[in-house]
Amino acid sequence: MNAFVKDPIQWTDVGAVTDIPIRGSRRVPTADGDIAIFRTGDGRVFALKDRCPHKGGPLSQGIVHGHAVTCPLHNWNVELATGEAMGADRGKGCTPVVPLRVEGGRLFLGRV
């Protein structure tokens, strides 16, 4: 009866999964800077702030491999699921993860 609970996250439809190239990324500008949405070789999608934890490089422009992306500025590898720097740079920084939902082939970015 009282099943209607308002979702605390506000979701915005930003496009179709297939708009993103496989092993690629697209960006979504916001007032707080760009968000990068990645699509990996196995078809998963991830969203991060488009900002490398190292020197702020645009991660959306990097090469996507496995579930990671290599920043185009200084080759830091960032884990897509957590935003953590990987390998030798692990523990040195983290990029914020952005809520992302896929429904009926559409991508929804969330705002809390």
């Binding site: 915005t12 439809d13 930003v14 496009g15 708009d19 993103i20 190239p21 496989i22 092993r23 690629g24 697209r26 960006r27 979504v28 500008p29 916001t30 007032a31 707080d32 800077g33 760009d34 968000i35 949405i37 070789g41 196995d42 702030k49 020197k55 702020g56 490089g57 645009p58 422009q61 990097g62 090469i63 996507v64 491999h65 496995g66 290599t70 185009p72 500025l73 080759n75 590898n77 390998g87 030798a88 692990r90 952005v98 991508l107 970015l109 705002r111």
Partner: protein, 818 residues
């Protein structure tokens, strides 16, 4: 309670290491300040030789960067020389009179190079080899073409200096007083082999030569005159005849000084609050100039200053030479003597010489030439004084052979090492730190250990030990590097094998290559994917579909990414020639798109910097309209052909250099290659287009065209080598395209032409280009490939291709906070 004040004079290797040793034991005990006369952070002085040789950069040899000082709360006074020590009031003073008090003081003032008091030693161009300023002076001198260097002193440092200068293109000669090079470390046989090896690397040796006078002209060095009357002409003279402990401050402060600052076994000087370490020290009558004893002194001082109980009892020395491809090790009584026995091994084919000296059944010394991998093992046997009579038959064949035959597990010795035992002397990394990092971070490769701990990342001497620790820690999971260097961590196969197999097995996509060659990751990484994409582009022109997701961003969007995420745009100007129409179009674009910076490049082009990504297609559309196409300033491919004005205008021009440059560029543009390729054509040997530092260069002469290859003027400075000479412009084009194609088919990804040439040899390239059939084959394959790649990528994108690259996915959140 206020912390005790620890002041260190000297920001060199010893001073900083001493501080590290203190921090390691009791990080909170002292308030620390370091005074250094050099205006730099702390760097690895023993690695200056590879910097001089162009094999490492300054950044590679920094030990402690600014963050280290900050993170450890150390105040660094760089470029501030201490003037005076007042031991009675426990103060130090700088030139301005400003004073700092201390509770404990460490002197780490190092040593000064000895300058021989020869007539002419004050001439310009006479230097020593001690710090980065010296290296910079030597590098600058070597940049002058056909310049010559003489190095006085055939010791370790002198030889490394001469080798470095020869690598930089100078004709270098070592002048040595004795009849054997490095006579304090090598016997006559090894010394002879070293002389030969240096000659093969372009360094001549003059032995038993006494210097008499440095000859000059106009205040600059011109040559070195020897006692026997010979004059060796030179433009640079390096004195490398030893060091003298720097004791000036200590002496003035009234501390006990002999040859060096006298210390006891706790590194304490004659004043109980003042300590000294490093090359400025005299301990039990001995002064040291090598790194290992200095580390041992610092360790003891660390104990002393944190109420520990260490004692320094002097060091047993070993030496390694840092000259690429010349493996030399020496320790102890290498020359033998009374009561000593020798075991000698020679292999002429491999150029190996080993001599192990035994005394009373124990190793007393060793000298190894050509294969020094077991140096550390002999040194350990020597220090431990183990009785080796039981395995002397196999001793000279090294550790693996000996322990294998004795049925020992070769890893047992490594397993037995204490966690606090130091493995990497350059970076002060002990066994426990390495095994800890391997366990905590799941490291499986040498590269991984280097990246995390810095162990074996400097001189590399301890590499075998680090590999053993990996093997010991993780067993078969350790990916040992055997054979050629793998393309990247995703495969154990090298570039040659990958290139060869994708052709013979007709693999025509990245997934096909990864499957057939058993890649260990699902879709590679940012290193191998661009390499494979290039190899496929090169092998299957017209057939292979370029994988954009495997291209670095610059090649995907056809512009150069800048540090703020904007791009730079460089239109092509054929041969560097432009017109008022083109310049007007560029000016209009700059105004229309509000482009902040316009800059002329080194390759005779105009660079528009700070273009927003979304604007790129519109910028290109306007440039296209004026006939301008992509300059590929972002490509691993043909960049620019620089020219001079040749017979068109120049009164010295011998051929139409501009015309040839334009023709080459119009034929070759758009071609991809392993790394960037820059060309230049000069119309006469005055070489105004600087063709002799390009990947491929042409010097026009009266009788035709000289084709040069393998130059570079970036990270490394290299003059070209003359490849061939041809009579006509057509032949010049054929030869150049043939070299380009050979490099395209054979070069490893990211390997510049000069490195490729070092690997395959100039002779092999010349043989291919001078053989008419081979040349034609190469030229034809290049021409065929160009049918598919001589297209303007900008025009394609103006027409809408890959528009997703430039447009955001959605603008629905543009004005909302994320």
């Amino acid at each position: 309670m206020a912390k005790e004040k620890l002041v260190v004079i000297g920001n060199g290797m010893a001073g900083c290491r001493a501080v590290q040793e203190v921090l390691k034991r009791d990080p909170g005990r002292y308030e620390i300040a370091i005074f250094g006369a050099e205006p730099r952070v702390n760097y690895d002085r023993i690695m200056l030789s590879p910097v001089l040789a162009g094999e490492k950069s300054f950044a590679d040899i920094v030990i402690n960067d600014e963050a280290w000082y900050r993170d450890n709360g150390i105040t660094l006074h760089a470029g501030l020389a201490v003037h005076e020590i007042d031991v009675a009031r426990r103060l130090i003073r700088v030139a301005s009179g400003q004073a700092w008090s201390y509770d404990r003081l460490i002197l780490a003032t190092g040593s000064d190079p000895i300058r021989l008091p020869l007539p002419g030693s004050d001439l310009a161009g006479v230097v020593t080899f001690r710090d980065l300023d010296d290296v910079e002076a030597m590098t600058a001198a070597s940049a002058i073409p056909d310049s010559r260097a003489v190095v006085i002193g055939g010791g370790l440092l002198g030889i490394e200096a001469a080798y470095g200068l020869a690598r930089r293109g100078m004709k270098a000669t070592v002048v040595h007083l004795m009849d054997v090079l490095m006579e304090r470390q090598l016997d006559a046989s090894a010394g002879f082999l070293l002389t030969e090896a240096m000659l093969a690397r372009g360094v001549e040796t003059v032995l038993e030569a006494q210097s008499e006078e440095i000859v000059g002209e106009g205040g600059r060095v011109k040559g070195l005159k020897l006692k026997d009357g010979r004059v060796l002409p030179c433009d640079l003279l390096v004195m490398s005849v030893g060091i003298r402990p720097n004791t000036t401050l200590a002496k003035a402060a009234g501390l006990e000084v002999g040859r060096g600052v006298v210390v006891d076994d706790q590194m304490q000087t004659s004043d109980p609050n003042v300590f000294a370490v490093g090359e400025c020290v005299e301990h039990r009558g001995q002064c040291y100039g090598l790194v290992a004893p200095i580390w041992e002194m610092c360790r003891t001082l660390g104990e002393t200053l944190t109420a520990g109980s260490g004692a320094y009892e002097g060091s047993v020395l070993s030496t390694r030479l840092k000259v690429s491809g010349v493996d030399v090790f020496s320790a102890g009584k290498f020359g033998g003597g009374e009561g000593c026995e020798d075991i000698v091994f020679r292999d002429a084919g491999r150029g190996v010489y080993k001599r192990i000296v035994l005394e009373g059944g124990k190793v007393a010394g060793a000298v190894l030439f050509g294969d020094a991998a077991d140096g550390g093992w002999y040194f350990d046997l020597m220090k431990s004084g183990e009785d080796v009579r039981g395995f002397r038959e196999t001793l000279v064949f090294g550790q693996a052979a000996t322990e294998g035959l004795r049925g020992l597990d070769p890893s047992a010795a490594v397993a037995a090492m204490a966690d606090t035992a130091e493995v990497c002397g350059c970076n002060g990394v002990c066994k426990g730190e390495i095994t800890g990092a391997i366990a905590a971070q799941g490291l499986t490769t040498l590269e991984g250990v280097r990246a995390v701990t810095k162990a074996s990342a400097s001189c590399g001497t301890c590499t075998p030990l680090v590999e053993k620790l990996l093997k010991l820690s993780i067993g078969d999971a350790f990916q040992e590097q055997k054979g050629p260097k793998p393309v990247c961590g995703c495969t154990h196969r090298g570039h040659d094998e990958v290139r060869g197999r994708l052709v013979t097995e007709e693999l025509k996509s990245i997934p096909a290559v990864m499957q057939a060659l058993e890649w260990t990751t699902p879709d590679g990484c940012a290193s191998c994917r661009p390499a494979l994409n290039y190899y496929l582009v090169c092998a299957w022109p017209g057939d292979y579909r370029d994988d954009k997701q495997s291209r670095f961003v610059n090649e995907r969007v056809h512009a150069n990414i800048q540090k703020d995420g904007t791009y730079s745009v460089v239109p092509r100007m054929w041969g560097g020639v432009t017109s008022s129409d083109e310049l007007r179009a560029i000016a209009d674009v700059v105004d229309k798109f509000d482009i902040p910076t316009v800059k002329v490049t080194g390759g005779q082009r105009i660079d528009l910097l700070g273009v927003k990504k979304d604007d790129l297609p519109a910028v290109w559309a306007d440039l296209n309209a004026a006939g301008l196409v992509s300059g590929h300033a972002y490509a691993k491919g043909l960049r620019t052909v620089k020219t001079c004005v040749g017979t068109d205008w120049c009164r010295f021009g011998t051929q139409d250099s501009t015309g040839l440059g334009v023709r080459l560029e119009k034929f070759m543009w758009g071609s991809w290659s392993p790394a960037k390729v820059k060309l230049a054509v000069s119309g006469c040997p005055r070489n105004c287009a600087e063709a002799t530092c390009k990947d491929i260069g042409v010097i026009c002469v009266d009788s035709g065209y000289e084709i040069h290859v393998g130059g570079a003027a970036g990270l490394h400075i290299r003059g070209t080598e003359l490849l061939t000479k041809v009579a006509s412009e057509d032949e010049a084009v054929w030869a150049i395209c043939a070299v380009m194609q050979m490099y395209r088919e054979d070069g490893w990804y990211l390997e510049r032409i000069y490195k490729w040439m070092d690997r395959v040899g100039l002779d092999a390239i010349r043989a291919a280009v001078e053989d008419p059939d081979t040349r034609k084959g190469l030229y034809d394959r290049f021409s065929y490939s160009q049918r598919f790649y001589r297209i303007d990528p900008w025009a394609e994108r103006v027409a809408g291709r890959d528009s997703h690259e430039f447009n955001p996915l959605s603008r629905r959140m543009e004005f909302e906070p994320a």
